[in-house]
C-alpha cells in the first residue's frame, strides 16, 4: 500500500526542549489514522510540521510522495486541513470566507467554485446557511465551516485536529458518519485527538505520542485483539474458582477473568457444574488501557535516556 504520510526521525527542538523527538509516522492510503496524545505531547507541533507551518529541526516529512515543506505547492492543494480549531474572517459570511480561501491558492477552479461551496456546505450540514457574518455563528457552526473549508477541493488526505470540538452529540455523530463515508470514497483521514472514544469508533490505525515520542503505532484491531482470556459475569464468583481451578486469572466483584479463548467452552463447563452465568465475553483491552500502558512505559524511557 502506498504511504500518504511518512516521517523519518522528525525532530523539533525549541531551545533545550525537544517538543517532537525523532518520530517515524506512517499513514497509508485509505487509513483512518488516529493520532493520540495528551495535551503538550507534541501532537499539534507534529501536525504543523506535516503541513509545512513549522520547520523541523531534523528529519524529514513526506506528504503524498513529496518532501515537505518544499513540495508544498504541489501536494498541499490535495490536502484538506483543520488545525487547532477553525478560523475565519468574522465580518464576512460563511460563503464569502470559503470563496476567499479557495481563491487564495492553486487547485481551486473559479468556474466550479460556487457549486463546490454549496456542495461542501450541504455535506457538513450548513446547506441552508444565510448571509449572516461568521461572527454570529455558534462554535459548532464554525467547526462545521472549518470542515467545509477542508473539504472544498475534495482532498485525497484530510488532516484534522480535534474535528468534533464544540459539536453536540448529534453533530459528533453526523461528522463521524461523514468522515467514514469520505473514507469509503478513498479519502485518507489523519485525525489528531485526545478523545479515545472518538478514535476507537472511527480509526483503523493508531499512533500514540508521549512527550514527543511515538510510543505506539499499530492497527487498532491488533491493539485491541483478544488477550486469550474470557470474562465471566456471575453472582457466584467464588464457585468459579472451585470449578475452574488454576484457570482463574483474577476476580473483581462479580467479574471473573478466566484463561480460555472460547467463551462457549467456559460457559459449558460452568453451567455443567451448576454455576449461574449472567454474562460472557472474550477479554479485549480497551484503547484506553493500551494507551495508558504505552504512555506509561515511555515516561520511564525518557528518564533513562537523559
Amino acid at each position: 500500500m502506498s504511504s500518504v504520510i511518512r516521517t523519518r526521525g522528525l525532530v523539533k527542538r525549541y531551545g533545550r526542549l525537544r517538543a517532537v523527538d525523532g518520530i517515524d509516522l506512517h499513514v497509508r492510503a485509505g487509513d483512518v489514522y488516529g493520532f493520540l496524545g495528551a495535551n503538550g505531547s507534541g501532537k499539534t507541533t507534529t501536525v504543523r510540521m506535516l503541513l509545512g507551518l513549522v520547520l523541523p529541526t531534523a528529519g524529514e516529512v513526506e506528504l503524498l510522495g513529496g518532501r515537505m515543506p518544499r513540495a508544498g505547492r504541489r501536494v498541499l492543494p490535495r490536502v484538506g486541513a483543520l488545525v487547532e480549531g477553525p478560523a475565519h474572517h468574522g465580518h464576512l459570511s460563511g460563503r464569502a470566507n470559503l470563496g476567499l480561501i479557495d481563491a487564495a491558492g492553486p487547485g481551486g477552479s473559479r468556474r466550479t467554485r460556487r457549486a463546490r461551496i454549496e456542495e461542501v456546505l450541504e455535506q457538513v450540514g450548513l446547506g441552508g446557511i444565510d448571509r449572516r457574518p461568521v461572527r454570529a455563528y455558534s462554535l459548532g457552526m464554525r467547526q462545521r465551516l472549518g470542515l467545509a473549508a477542508a473539504l472544498l477541493r475534495r482532498p485525497e488526505l484530510l488532516v484534522l485536529d480535534e474535528p468534533t470540538n464544540g459539536l453536540d452529540p448529534q453533530g459528533i455523530h453526523e461528522i463521524r458518519d461523514l468522515l467514514l463515508e469520505l473514507n469509503r470514497g478513498g479519502t485518507t483521514v489523519f485525525l489528531s485527538s485526545h478523545l479515545l472514544a472518538e478514535v476507537e469508533q472511527l480509526c483503523t490505525r493508531v499512533g500514540v505520542l508521549d512527550r514527543g515520542r511515538l510510543v505506539l503505532q499499530d492497527e487498532l484491531a491488533r491493539l485491541t485483539a483478544p488477550t486469550g482470556a474470557t470474562v465471566v459475569d456471575t453472582p457466584a464468583a467464588d464457585r468459579v474458582r472451585a470449578v475452574l481451578d488454576g484457570r482463574v486469572l483474577g476476580v473483581d466483584g462479580s467479574r471473573v477473568v478466566v484463561r480460555g479463548t472460547d467463551p462457549a467452552e467456559v460457559n459449558a463447563v460452568l453451567v455443567g457444574a451448576g454455576v449461574p452465568v449472567t454474562g460472557l465475553a472474550l477479554q479485549r483491552p480497551t484503547l484506553e488501557e493500551v494507551v495508558l500502558a504505552a504512555a506509561g512505559t515511555s515516561a520511564d524511557r525518557v528518564e533513562a535516556a537523559r
Binding site: L53, R73, E84, G90, H91, L92, A96, L100, A104
Partner: protein
C-alpha cells in the same frame, strides 16, 4: 492572490472608517478657515493653507499637508501592522499557508494591497480636499495658481504638480508601510506591529528637531516627507524630492527583504 487580499482589505468596514476619519480633520480645518476667514500667514501653519483663501483648488495639497505628519502615517501603520499579524491573531494565517498560498506570494499580495490602500487613501484625501476646497473657497478656474515662490502657475502646471505631489506622498507612506509590514512578520500582535512602526516615526520626527542628531538627520525616514512642497516652487526644487524618493526606496527595499527573510523561515505557531 492579490485579488483576494484587495477584496479582503476593501470589503472590510474598518478600512473605509479609517479613510473617513482621516478626511475629518482637513474638512474641519476648511470649515473653520472659511467661517473665520483667518488663514495662517504665509510661512506659518500647514503648507498651502495660507493660499487656500485665494484659491480653493490648492486645498487638496493643504489637506495632504495637514494629515501627512500624523494622521496618515498612523492609518498606514495600523493597516500595515495588521497585514500579517492580524491574520496570525485571527488564526487565518495558518489556513492561508496550508491552502497553500506560498509565503512569498502572500507577502507580495499583502504589500500590493497595502500600496493600494495608501494610494486610495491619498487620492480620497486629495479628492475630498478638492471638493471641499472648491465649494468653500473661491477657485480660480482660468488663471491657475500661484507657486510658493510667488510666480503664477497655469492650470495644467498646477494639476501636473499636484499629481506628482500625490505620488510623492504615496511613496513616503510606503516607507511607513514597509516598517509596519516588517514588524507584522515579527509578532502575532497587530497592535504591537503598528506601535512599532509608529515608534520609529516618532523617534525619527523627534531626532529631526534635535541638533545633536544632525549627522544622522539625512537618513531619518521622515526627513523629506514635506519635500513635496518643493514641487510647487518655481522652478521646481528637485534636490530634496529626489533624495526623499531615494531614501524611501532604500528603506522599502531593506525592510521588505528583512520581512521576506523572516517570514519565509519562521515557524507559524499561531
Amino acid at each position: 492572490m492579490i485579488g483576494v487580499e484587495l477584496r479582503k482589505l476593501f470589503r472590510r468596514p474598518r478600512t473605509w472608517v479609517t479613510i473617513a476619519v482621516l478626511n475629518a480633520l482637513p474638512v474641519l480645518v476648511a470649515v473653520l478657515v472659511q467661517l473665520t476667514d483667518l488663514a495662517p500667514r504665509p510661512g506659518e501653519g500647514p503648507p498651502f493653507l495660507s493660499a487656500v483663501l485665494t484659491n480653493g483648488a490648492l486645498f487638496p495639497l493643504a489637506a495632504l499637508a495637514i494629515v501627512l505628519p500624523l494622521f496618515l502615517p498612523i492609518a498606514v501603520a495600523v493597516v500595515a501592522g495588521d497585514a500579517v499579524a492580524g491574520e496570525a491573531q485571527a488564526g487565518t494565517l495558518r489556513y492561508l499557508l496550508v491552502r497553500p498560498s506560498g509565503r512569498t506570494r502572500l507577502l507580495v499580495a499583502k504589500l500590493v494591497a497595502l500600496m493600494a490602500f495608501v494610494l486610495v487613501t491619498v487620492l480620497v484625501v486629495a479628492g475630498v480636499g478638492y471638493v471641499v476646497g472648491t465649494t468653500l473657497f473661491d477657485a480660480q478656474p482660468v488663471g491657475g495658481g500661484t507657486s510658493v515662490s510667488g510666480t503664477s502657475l497655469s492650470q495644467q502646471e498646477l494639476a501636473g504638480r499636484s499629481l506628482m505631489a500625490i505620488g510623492y506622498v504615496t511613496v513616503s507612506m510606503l516607507g511607513v508601510a514597509a516598517f509596519g509590514l516588517f514588524f507584522s512578520t515579527l509578532t502575532d500582535s497587530p497592535l504591537a506591529a503598528a506601535l512599532g512602526a509608529l515608534a520609529v516615526l516618532v523617534t525619527s520626527s523627534l531626532l529631526f528637531t534635535l541638533d545633536a542628531a544632525s549627522p544622522i538627520a539625512p537618513y531619518l525616514p521622515t526627513r523629506y516627507w514635506l519635500a513635496f512642497v518643493d514641487l510647487f516652487r518655481d522652478p521646481v526644487l528637485w534636490r530634496d524630492v529626489v533624495r526623499g524618493l531615494a531614501l524611501q526606496g532604500v528603506y522599502v527595499g531593506v525592510l521588505l527583504a528583512a520581512a521576506w527573510a523572516n517570514f519565509t523561515t519562521k515557524d507559524v505557531t499561531s
